[in-house]
């Protein structure tokens, strides 16, 4: 392979690179930075809830407006600027070309453009916190009329900026998604057949397709809402012939598939990690793939379960209850296939494996509590309480935090050519997972006690201001602070190991997939010679073979 070997300046190498690995790192670091902001916001409003009216250290007094701003942007950041860029864009960019054995994405410049648009969207969002009136405070779902009229949301500039940022972010991921899909479809290594593609790539690409098919109506809706905000047109204003429920449909037609858009890559990362650390073939490769497709398809038929109390047609509520309960079947099947993979394996409890196992356990709780919310009858009680909040944090935190940690610890040697410290990793693991449960388990109980979301202070609600409820809130807040402080361990470990970690060889985990055939870290162009594929990706502990792994590119 011929390369231009001239030295690139720092600027063109790290900021304007078209190399998929550099772009992946850009996404990863931007995502990590945004996660810090999102976590800080969570700290801000949790402090207010636990200790109403105190001066929050580092933030000051949380006014009702600031509270709304923090809650809104915590949600938006964690989903659009953390989960999406890290799970889809960072891992997708990093893994797709390496795992299918080619030198780059098919459209490197499109890839760079996608990151640049994403970066602009992040800058627009951050800028919106500093404009007069502050950042958008109409909740991440942005329901009109609250979001459409400045006289309700009190953020005349923050709201349009938030919407613009979200729209730009969508454009970035549409471009990225086209790149991912085309690369996987067309650029596989010679010999790599459909069933030889590692499951994580299937999941990232199916997630990209789901994103593409669901985001369209919301992009149109975002334009309509933007016009409502700026020109007061009234697409969603009943006084002018519009309909606010239409926005809810536009939003959730995207918003629910979005859950699966981030779930699938997380599931994929976990699949890779557990096969390697259980030294066992992935149980039911095709079953997992079919359930992935079923999940992706069904995810389009469930959106209105977010609107059971919005006054939607009760007949539709029946339909959406059934589809919502149905979708738990393929997801459960996936979890069972993973557990079956573990069964009888020789499990090594390294840090990535711990995170992967924690993902399965915690996501299970999130999934089970979803059954109550998906049934239109019980949802009438649970709707908009902290039960909902605890439920989706039990899905989103495993997805966007725990599985991402599994992925980072697992691929770190490949990304930076060095190992992360195992002891610090384990400290970080327990320091993340235990406080995580202590944050959100109390919130289930608070929700069952009737505590509504998006309330600034419960002091004015005698039923909710009781001391035992307040104690639960304090427990959740303290656990959050503990969890956040343990991330310092991770950050230290991460940055220290980039420069000073133990050197990693090519294939430290003895894994099969193609990225481990490249040097650690892979140079520009990835492979000295583009690999051929001879077998499926999960041939671990094959009987009669001396080694317990069998790389995909090794000639028989």
């Amino acid at each position: 392979m011929s390369h231009d070997h001239h030295e690139q300046s720092f600027f063109s190498k790290y900021l304007f690179s078209t190399d998929h690995k550099v772009i992946a790192m850009q996404y990863l670091f931007t995502g990590m930075f945004m996660a810090l902001i999102g976590g800080f916001f969570a700290y801000g409003f949790r402090m207010q809830l636990a200790f109403p009216g105190i001066e929050v250290p580092g933030l000051g007094l949380v006014t009702p407006n600031l509270y709304n701003e923090l809650v809104t942007n915590h949600g938006s950041i964690m989903i659009f600027w953390v989960a999406m860029p890290v799970l889809i864009a960072a891992f997708g960019n990093y893994l797709i070309p390496l795992m299918i054995g080619c030198d780059d994405m098919v459209f490197p410049r499109l890839n760079r453009l996608s990151y640049q648009i994403f970066l602009i969207s992040a800058i627009v969002l951050i800028a919106s916190f500093f404009v007069p009136g502050g950042g958008f405070s109409g909740a991440w779902t942005s329901y009109p009329p609250l979001s459409a009229q400045a006289k309700y949301n009190l953020t005349p500039l923050g709201a349009p900026m938030w919407l613009t940022a979200v729209a730009l972010e969508f454009v970035a991921f549409l471009l990225g998604g086209i790149n991912f899909i085309t690369t996987l479809m067309n650029s596989r290594a010679p010999g790599m057949k459909m069933w030889d593609i590692p499951i994580v790539l299937w999941m990232i690409v199916i997630a990209s397709i789901v994103f593409m098919a669901s985001a369209g109506p919301l992009i149109a809706g975002a334009v309509m809402l933007l016009f409502d905000q700026i020109y007061h047109i009234g697409f969603f204003n009943p006084n002018k012939g519009g309909d606010p429920i239409l926005w809810q449909h536009l939003f959730w037609f995207f918003g629910h598939p979005e859950v699966y858009v981030v779930l699938l890559p997380a599931m994929g990362i976990v699949a890779e990690v557990i096969t390697v650390f259980a030294r066992k073939k992935l149980f039911g490769y095709k079953t997992i793939l079919y359930t992935t497709i079923a999940t992706g398809t069904l995810s389009f038929f469930v959106w209105a379960h977010h609107q059971f109390v919005a006054g939607i047609d009760p007949r539709m509520a029946n339909v959406f209850t059934i589809t919502t309960i149905l979708i738990s079947i393929p997801v459960t099947e996936m979890c069972f296939a993973y557990i079956a993979t573990l069964f009888g394996g020789s499990i090594e409890l390294r840090t990535p494996m711990l995170f992967a196992l924690a993902f399965l356990a915690e996501f299970l709780i999130g999934g089970v509590t979803g059954i109550f919310l998906g049934s239109s009858g019980s949802d009438i009680y649970f709707h908009d309480t902290y039960f909902v909040l605890a439920h989706f944090h039990y899905t989103f935190v495993p997805i966007a935090i725990i599985s991402v940690f599994a992925g980072i610890y697992y691929w770190f040697p490949k990304m930076f050519g060095r190992h992360m410290n195992e002891t610090l990793g384990k400290i970080h693991f327990w320091g993340t997972v235990i406080p995580f449960n202590l944050i959100f388990l109390p919130l289930f109980f608070l929700g069952l006690a009737g505590q509504h979301r998006r309330i600034y202070s419960y002091e004015n609600f005698p039923e909710l201001a009781k001391p035992y409820l307040q104690d639960l809130r304090i427990l959740a807040t303290v656990s959050l602070i503990v969890m956040l402080s343990f991330q310092v361990v991770f950050l230290f470990n991460f940055f220290y190991s980039i420069f000073k970690g133990k050197k990693a060889e090519k294939n430290p985990w003895r894994a099969n997939t193609l990225e481990w055939a490249a040097a650690s870290p892979p140079p520009h162009g990835n492979f000295p010679e583009l690999p051929q594929v001879y077998r499926p990706p999960y041939e671990y502990s094959v009987p009669g073979r001396e080694l317990d792994y069998w790389p995909q590119n090794e000639k028989a």
């Binding site: 098919a213 369209g216 109506p217 007061h232 012939g241 309909d243 037609f253 047609d313 539709m316």
Partner: protein
């Protein structure tokens, strides 16, 4: 194959499209609602299919591209199907949504 991609063929398709366009403009002038709907939207679908098949060459492209595009159109129908029971039926048993045609108020953004 070659007959499908010759300039002559393209001009022929274009001529049919123009005739269809004229029909779709003339049809509604009769003032019969069914004719209007048929000529306007029926012909639009025919025209779109012709452009897709003969100009975009979906007729000689791999089949799954057609399925992909049709799938995306079905997504739109799914969205409209799931949404229209709410948007098209503004009256309910216990609540009422009034549809007022004229803009009743001019809101000025911002807060006092």
């Amino acid at each position: 194959m070659s007959a499908e991609t010759s300039p002559k063929h393209y001009v022929k398709i274009w001529a049919i499209l123009v005739v269809l366009l004229i029909l779709s403009v003339l049809g509604p002038m009769l003032g019969i609602k069914l004719v209007t709907l048929l000529t306007a939207f029926g012909i639009a679908i025919v025209k779109a299919t012709m452009v897709a098949n003969h100009f975009m060459h979906l007729n000689i492209e791999k089949k799954y591209i057609s399925y992909l595009l049709i799938g995306m159109v079905l997504m739109v129908f799914l969205f409209v199907g799931g949404t229209s029971p709410d948007v098209l039926m503004p009256e309910g048993q216990h609540w009422e949504k009034q549809v007022i045609e004229q803009p009743v108020e001019l809101d000025h953004g911002g807060h006092e």
